[in-house]
Point group: C2
């Protein structure tokens, strides 16, 4: 966990044509939304890219989640891609509900800090390694039946220590910056070594 | 790549309640389908679990893919989760189309071997580390507009060296058995080390 007074992040814009690559390796993410002064962030392992350009993503949000209500009300959501240093935060955000707890109360979730980014219409989580701002593309039928939401990516950013020129590259960065991939019950696997497939 | 005459796999059934966990960490997969004696296998990075029980998955299949035609015709598809040893095979299967090439022709794809499994209504790829048999749940609207397909998992299996008791565990297994996570253009990251999130 990052101390509140430490320099918490580095962030550079990612070309929209490369935004899908932020989710290509299948990281566990944090989904955030904001409406009329209320914000929430939930953990989600069930997300994937859905199209290249304009970039779209698909995410699963259960009917019980408070984030889903904020997405439906605001028409927007944001995705933050957390890293190994944030594993405890991710688990914590997955175990509590914004319907009953204000996750931004430092007494509840001291490690949850957000970034100041005007282009994001939801809370971007500080200390993560990539972020996507999304506009909900309304799909009321599959939202209701399958809990499946579709968003168009309107802006994206990444920490250039691990993602630049359209590629993830973890080898020269601290281990703490590796993405998390959920196994079960708050246990994760960090992303590992490069493998050439040709 | 596994020589054709080597013992190529170990395989145990996975409880349907745990089937979603095979895709939880976001591996790149191979999607296969079979109809009237014609089979195909394609590489796909865009897949995710969609529900727990009955287990459902969502996969993206472009209109140009031959596998999509076989899924529509047969009502079934199968997912194989490949490993590091198969990176070149995965790239090869992603670069060729079954519409113009018979990928099961040994001259085309010598490393592509399938398993004999009566419960699978499509070609399971030998040497992979997990497999899911799926029944297409017809969603003609989102299939046509979003290239998004939904399947119910009807059977699942995994290599017990890396998945057992409902959990992936790679630490005690050969590196070659680690799952692949696509970066871009046939470059992958292998899954890495465990991270406790509590």
């Amino acid at each position: 966990m990052t101390p509140p007074d430490a320099p918490t992040f580095s962030r550079q814009p990612v070309a929209l044509a490369h935004a899908y690559r932020l989710l290509n390796p299948g990281p566990t993410v944090l989904i955030g939304a904001r409406h009329e002064g209320r914000s929430n962030v939930m953990a989600a392992a069930w997300t994937m890219p859905l199209d290249f350009e304009p970039p779209k993503v698909a995410v699963v949000m259960d009917k019980s989640t408070w984030t889903r209500q904020l997405v439906l009300a605001s028409g927007h959501f944001v995705i933050s891609v957390p890293c190994q240093a944030q594993a405890a935060l991710v688990t914590r955000l997955g175990q509590t509900s914004g319907a009953t707890v204000d996750k931004f109360d430092p007494a509840q979730t001291p490690a949850l800090q957000t970034l100041d980014e005007p282009a994001a219409t939801g809370p971007l989580v500080a200390g993560c390694v990539a972020w996507l701002a999304c506009r909900r593309l309304p799909e009321p039928d599959i939202e209701a039946r399958l809990d499946l939401f579709v968003g168009e990516v309107t802006a994206a950013w990444a920490d250039p220590r691990v993602f630049s020129q359209g590629r993830w590259h973890f080898d020269a960065a601290p281990e703490a910056l590796r993405t998390l991939h959920h196994v079960a019950g708050g246990h994760y696997l960090a992303i590992g070594q490069p493998v050439a497939g040709a």
